[in-house]
């Protein structure tokens, strides 16, 4: 397979960018998963879809608003009634899931190229995200695995907490470079590394 090109282009400059005090409060990276897939269930068929997702990915999803799971290479979370975003570092999840979810249950839509996955990790991840999104990123309000759909002006984003101090952002690919650049600027104050 041909390797997909990152939308970040020259805006992705790996290295350390400490603040005036010499600290780096977070690490910014693009996780480049092979599969980003949206699954949607018809009303009343949510449980069947969740069962299909769980059996295919091994991620036991709860049936609540924003409920989600993460493991090393896979992640899933709800972002709207009956709608889920599924992420796998491997390619091909859309085809597999599409085959498993019949038209009587819902739909599967491949967004592997359409969304870009950006990761903020570190003690200052919440601080930097709060500059962009009107969400309460605290551990209690936004626990591990949970996902939320939100927006920063024109930039729609689906955000999942994937670690104690780690968030993954899924944004429209065409906006990724602009948001990335803005994230880097917003992180200067706390210092950051790009990986």
């Amino acid at each position: 397979m041909v390797e997909p090109v990152s939308p970040l282009g020259a805006a992705w400059k790996p290295g350390a960018y400490p603040n005036t005090a010499g600290e780096s409060g977070l690490v910014l990276s693009e996780t480049r998963p092979g599969s980003i897939v949206q699954a949607a269930a018809w009303r009343g068929r949510e449980k069947a879809l969740i069962a299909a997702i769980t059996s295919l990915t091994g991620l036991a999803l709860a049936d609540g608003a924003g409920a989600g799971r993460v493991d090393g290479t896979k992640a899933a979370f709800g972002f709207a009634p009956g709608k889920f975003l599924l992420v796998d570092q491997k390619e091909g999840l859309a085809a597999v899931l599409g085959a498993a979810v019949g038209v009587e249950t819902g739909t599967v839509t491949d967004l592997s190229h359409g969304r870009t996955a950006l990761r903020l990790a570190g003690p200052k991840a919440e601080w930097v995200l709060a500059k962009f999104f009107a969400l309460d990123f605290s551990q209690t309000a936004f626990p591990l695995g949970v996902g939320r759909a939100t927006s920063h002006h024109d930039i729609f984003a689906q955000i999942q907490r994937s670690g104690a101090e780690q968030f993954d952002l899924y944004v429209f690919r065409s906006f990724a470079r602009a948001l990335w650049t803005a994230l880097c600027h917003a992180s200067k104050e706390t210092g950051y590394r790009v990986e």
Binding site: G114, A130, K131, A186
Partner: protein, 999 residues
């Protein structure tokens, strides 16, 4: 005889010095100083010139309420005007200018305005400059002649012209409890809420939180109050659940318990740290709010009350206890309440002589008398200050007997270098006023108290009219416990206060009016509004509080009447013979203090406006494209760079496409996946034509109408399987169409099983067009044939280009044989480069928006320029797309009388007969008179030079449409000075039979 620095006391660090400059002169101060305190310590008393009369002005207050000492801070080439000197923390190299003076603060030419004082009274501008011209020195025209000079003479500081290089940021925060104000009440509230396990934000506008504890001189829990406050703050700061925001002014209270605050992150340093914003705009969503914003002391209104050296009593106390500055060496106090006597005692203790305490009340409490005695002051009860003297600073006051409101007796002169005044206190109810009903007037306190809340807040301390420190501490504790939902606090939780109890209630007198002609008595210092101006407004009928405000500009300056509100109302009340609450008060609007525009704009400014880039963006830029902003998207306009003009470039690109093959990036088209068992049915309902009959792997051009029957959007929709459709929309309408479709599914047809997903960014799209386009595909596509049988017009095939899966649909926007090649966006660049490589033998050219537009105009295809929200499908000759077999969105409204009128403007082509360009928006007229701008029969929607026809052509909407084909008319474009003959023709300029497209 001037203010000086005391040898000890205050929070300044006397061990270190900071150098700063004011009006070009260098001064020294200490860390902890404000500009106001440091200048006072250097003996400076003249801070600025007043707004209208250019009167010399000194410091009146010590906080955000300061109306006089406004200065301009210079940083590099950036000027920030109108900052109160009390709010500026000094730093090494701080450079400040005074304002509203020429040539200098000391010698000001504008001071002649004082002589014309009678002319410049309230209403001067309305009377002199508005309305008809009667005589030479009246009316609007006179204003236009005078404006330049008046604007220069009157007013505040001057803003700079250079761009602000600083960074501003927004921040979102959530908390259970927001405490506004970190004085004794606020600190206790924060402590109680935090100890109950709540997430707390404590915001205070000063650099050192503590509020009155920092200067009250009282003892709390056995500690000096300031030390108690610092200890409490340190304990709060150590808690994970508490966020302290010093230098942060909460300035707005909005719906949903959402508050706006401005944090001055870097104003107190020579430059921000790396990446640090200068200001941070906080949006705080709080479960509950404790308002502990304190109170402002009020000035008294008497002749000469604005002379430098006349200041609020509490301001002198703050200067002394916070900054170790003694405001004068021989002072007098003029007050209408007991509480102000503390100031006299404090200043006396610091070594100043208190010449007299002038109290307008006949009886003074024993406690206050004792303080006067301790201060060594002569107590003049039942007296008033009726005048002041001194050129640039006060040197003498006149005192007279005040008996039952009347000034009597002989004036007595007392030499002083500073006069403290106190007219009682006004709670800072500004935020409450934004989140509550009307404020309540308290007769005893002669003040407006907070209103009933309409949002979830609780008040505490001086804000709520409970001024004594012990009361404020108890109040704060109770408020904190209440918003935390806990039990009422135990009495033992309340800190013990050692203080002298004094009554704060003032005599209900705000103005002293000596008989005869006395000097000006100021109510609003910043806008130079006098007591006489208020009475004049009354005499001229502007008696309501709203009219008073607008006619005199009382309270409309940058300080928003913090010191002038109540005295102004009291004077109006007296003039009308009614009470203050009967006059009423205006609602305090946000912001509480001025907010930098940079902070409000924050990330929407400059580079942080988001750009949308296609997967091939970098290629376009590297290959010489001039990029064009289409909404947020960037698209190539032309690929120039060979010294071509725009017209030369697009003509070359379009001609090469028609002659051979061209390629254009169409990734920006809106793309929506429409999936589900009811997808075809849904499309039949929203499109004017039928999609349920579309075979799998075929595309169809579709048109949508609005609910009112006008044309909305067009595009092709591809059927990828029985239940999966890929809909394309125009770039501009992608978001709107998506929302409209979601509206239908959520609200109108919730039973349809259809999923909509925006996949605009999932697919990269390249359109290749021209007679050689098939050859290019044949050279690079694997896994499928691309011949006419396999891939006929509107057919779709799947294949691979250079190892990348692609989907190819044969459709044409240019009128040539053309294909749209779609692939995963991450592969877009790869496929584009492969197509360019395969196209080399056929001399493939990339083309931009200009050539794209040219090709579509030649072909007569409509876009947003024609589907402009005013045209119907019939106007655009798209009635062939209106199904008669089924209803669709807009079908019942499109046949209304006015929409079927024969005389509507309809789509035609236009050819320039004088070989000159036709611009969009130009009108079409039938008369041949360039001077006559009338009788339009339509307008040009889009024009270009057509390489295929060798002429300047355009699409236009003209009355009668087709019926005018072959007619002569004229283009009239007065804005571009263009008038000339045109011929009206069919909009199908090029290959009307479509043989090139279908072949």
């Amino acid at each position: 005889m001037s203010p000086r620095r005391s040898t000890e006391g205050g929070r300044i660090d006397r061990g270190r010095t900071i150098r700063f400059s004011f009006d070009g002169k260098t001064y020294q101060g200490h860390p902890g100083d404000t500009l106001a305190s440091a200048l006072m310590a250097n003996g400076v008393r003249l801070f600025g010139r007043s707004f209208k009369y250019h009167r010399p002005r000194g410091l009146l207050a010590a906080g955000v309420d300061e109306p006089n000492a406004l200065v301009t801070v210079l940083k590099g080439t950036v000027r920030e005007p109108n900052i109160a000197a009390t709010q500026i923390e000094i730093y090494e190299g701080l450079t400040v200018e005074s304002q509203n003076r020429f040539p200098s603060l000391d010698v000001d030419a504008g001071a002649v305005n004082q002589l014309a004082g009678g002319l410049l009274s309230a209403g001067f501008y309305y009377k002199t400059f508005m309305g008809p011209v009667i005589g030479p020195l009246r009316g609007t025209r006179f204003w236009m002649a005078c404006e330049h000079f008046i604007r220069r003479a009157a007013g505040l500081g001057r803003a700079g012209r250079d761009a602000d290089p600083d960074r501003y940021e927004r921040m979102n925060a959530f908390c259970d409890v927001l405490v506004v104000g970190a004085g004794p009440a606020g600190l206790m509230a924060a402590k109680a809420a935090a100890e109950a396990g709540k997430r707390v934000i404590l915001a205070d506008l000063d650099p050192v939180p503590g509020g009155s504890a920092n200067w009250s001189g009282e003892t709390i829990d056995g500690l000096p109050a300031a030390a108690w406050a610092q200890g409490t703050i340190e304990a709060l700061g150590a808690m994970d659940t508490v966020r302290l925001l010093p230098r942060t002014t909460v300035w707005g209270y909005y719906d949903g318990n959402t508050l706006a605050a401005l944090e001055r992150v870097a104003d107190h340093k020579p430059a921000p740290d790396r990446g640090e914003p200068r200001h941070r705009h906080w949006t705080i969503r709080a479960g509950a709010v404790v308002l502990a914003t304190g109170a402002f002391e009020r000035p008294l209104v008497f002749p000469g009350n604005d002379r430098p050296g006349v200041m609020l009593a509490d301001a002198a106390v703050r200067l002394l206890r916070e900054y170790g500055v003694v405001a004068g060496s021989r002072l007098a106090l003029f007050a209408n309440n007991d509480d102000a006597y503390r100031a006299a005692a404090a200043l006396a203790e610091a070594g100043a002589t208190i010449a007299a305490i002038v109290d307008m009340r006949d009886t003074v409490s024993p406690a206050a008398r004792a303080l006067a005695e301790r201060a060594g002051a002569e107590l003049l009860a039942g007296h008033a200050v009726t005048g002041t003297k001194g050129r640039k600073a006060i040197r003498e006051i006149t005192v007279q007997r005040l008996r039952e409101g009347e000034i009597t007796g002989q004036p007595r002169r007392i030499a002083v270098d500073c006069l403290l005044m106190s007219g009682g206190w006004s709670p800072a109810i500004h935020l409450a006023s934004q989140a509550g009903t009307a404020p309540r007037w308290d007769e005893a306190l002669q003040a407006f108290l907070p209103p009933k809340p309409t949002q979830n807040w609780v008040g505490a301390g001086a804000f709520a009219g409970r001024f004594a420190t012990a009361a404020a501490l108890a109040d704060g504790l109770a408020a904190g416990a209440k918003v935390a939902g806990g039990k009422p606090p135990r009495k033992s939780a309340q800190p013990r206060v050692e203080t002298l109890e004094l009554d704060i209630a003032p005599a209900p007198v705000f103005e002293i009016r000596p008989p005869g002609k006395a000097g000006k008595a100021f109510v609003d210092f910043q806008h130079d509004v006098t007591a006489e101006d208020v009475r004049q407004a009354h005499r001229e009928g502007f008696v309501s509080v709203e009219h008073l405000k607008r006619y005199t500009t009382l309270g409309m300056a940058t300080d928003q009447g913090k010191t002038s509100n109540v005295p102004g109302l009291a004077i109006m009340a007296e003039a009308r013979g009614i009470t203050v609450p009967e006059v009423g008060t205006t609602r305090f609007r946000p912001p509480f203090t001025p907010v930098s525009l940079g902070a409000l704009a924050a990330e929407r400014y400059g580079e942080l406006r988001p750009d949308r880039l296609t997967p091939m963006h970098d290629w376009h830029v590297e290959n010489g494209a001039t990029m064009y902003a289409a909404g947020l998207w960037y698209r190539p306009m032309i690929y120039g760079g060979r010294g071509e003009t725009v017209e030369q470039a697009y003509v070359r690109e379009a001609a090469a496409t028609r002659a051979g093959v061209g390629i254009v990036d169409v990734s920006t088209l809106g793309k929506i996946m429409v999936q589900g068992p009811d997808a075809a049915d849904f499309l039949d309902r929203v499109y004017t034509n039928t999609f349920s009959t579309l075979p799998v792997m075929k595309a169809r051009y579709g048109l949508m109408l609005r609910e009112d029957g006008l044309a909305y959007d067009d595009g092709t929709t591809w059927r990828l399987s029985q239940t999966d459709f890929l809909m394309t929309t125009t770039t501009a309408n992608a978001g709107k169409v998506m929302q409209q479709l979601e509206y239908y599914l959520d609200i109108v047809w919730p039973d349809l099983k259809v999923t909509l997903t925006s996949v605009s960014d999932q697919w990269a799209g390249a359109a290749i067009a021209g007679p050689r386009s098939r050859d290019v595909l044949a050279a690079c596509v694997a896994g499928t044939a691309v011949d006419n049988d396999t891939l006929p017009f509107m057919g779709i095939v799947r294949g691979e280009i250079d190892g990348v899966p692609v989907m190819i649909c044969r459709l044409s926007f240019s009128g040539e044989r053309a294909y749209e090649v779609y692939c995963g966006a991450g592969h877009g660049l790869h496929v584009w480069e492969a197509l360019m490589e395969a196209g080399k033998p056929f001399a493939i050219v990339p083309y931009g928006l200009e050539a794209l537009g040219t090709l579509r105009i030649e072909k007569g295809h409509v876009t947003g320029a024609e589907i402009d929200g005013r045209t119907t499908a019939r106007d655009l000759y798209l009635d062939w797309m209106l199904s008669k077999k089924k209803p669709f969105a807009g079908s019942m409204m499109m046949d209304r009388e006015g929409l079927c009128d024969d005389d509507r403007i309809r789509l035609v082509g236009i050819v320039a007969l004088d070989d000159r360009p036709l611009g969009g928006g130009a009108h079409i007229v039938e008369h041949n008179d360039p001077a006559e701008i009338r009788d339009s029969i339509g307008h040009v929607t889009a024009g270009c030079y057509s390489p295929a026809l060798g002429k300047y052509i355009a699409l236009a909407l003209v009355k009668g449409g087709k019926t005018r084909h072959g007619a002569r008319a004229f283009v009239s474009d007065p804005l571009r000075k263009r008038f000339g003959p045109v011929e009206i023709v069919s909009h199908h300029f090029y290959d009307p039979e479509g043989s090139r497209m279908h072949g």
